[in-house]
Amino acid sequence: MTHENLAPRVKELIVRRLKLDIDPTTIQNDAPLFGEGLGLDSIDALELVLGLEQEFGIKVEDEEVGVKAFASVDALVDFIEQKKIA
């Protein structure tokens, strides 16, 4: 699956798991997920960790890795691709 195909799945995952009342297609690939941008917080981060594990079979080892992976949709897609290759 290419980066372009994976990004919509990631956006759909974010909206569905976090019960956001937005259209997934309005999320910018390079926009920050936390703080500015989508405004997600640490509670949301745990839900994303669980979502990645359940829907992609990917574990986020620790908070340091997760903070980098959750920087943006692009970063999250890169993280999933790296995990799928490894």
Partner: protein, 135 residues
């Protein structure tokens, strides 16, 4: 083991009293006894406690068993409730047991699932999120 200092609340809003199974940083599951009174302030007209206190009891049991985090501090608070089902509201002062299991963790946020029991009767079950640290 006494609950202090893991929990910020004091009587009557400290609901858990005794750890009934081993606990600590490597805690994955455990049991705590509890008694919900809230000194009458969260008791409804029929003498039963409000259902939200059962989720709070689960959070207090979880943090007590988990024992805090050296980086985030020993304290924590209830940050979320998911799929929490109350099948019976216990009487104020009823002796309860709270079974808690750690299911996921990311940084200071921990997800637990568990049940609140009165004898063999499960009065509530569900998942909660707690956030370690004071804010």
């Amino acid at each position: 083991m006494l609950p202090a200092p893991e929990l910020p609340h004091s009587y009557p809003f400290r609901f858990v009293d005794t750890v009934l199974s081993p606990a600590g940083a490597d805690f994955r599951q455990g049991t705590v006894s509890a008694r919900l009174t809230a000194n009458g302030r969260a008791v409804m007209g029929d003498g039963r406690v409000a259902g939200t206190l059962l989720a709070e009891a689960l959070a207090q049991a979880a943090l007590l068993l988990q024992g805090g985090d050296p980086d985030a501090g020993r304290r924590g608070f209830l940050a979320g409730i998911e799929g929490f089902e109350v099948t019976r509201l216990p009487e104020a002062g009823e002796s309860l047991q709270v079974d808690v299991r750690l299911t996921a963790r990311f940084g200071p946020v921990i997800k637990f699932e568990g049940e609140v029991r009165s004898g063999s009767d499960t009065v509530a079950r569900g998942s909660i999120l707690v956030r370690q640290g004071s804010s």
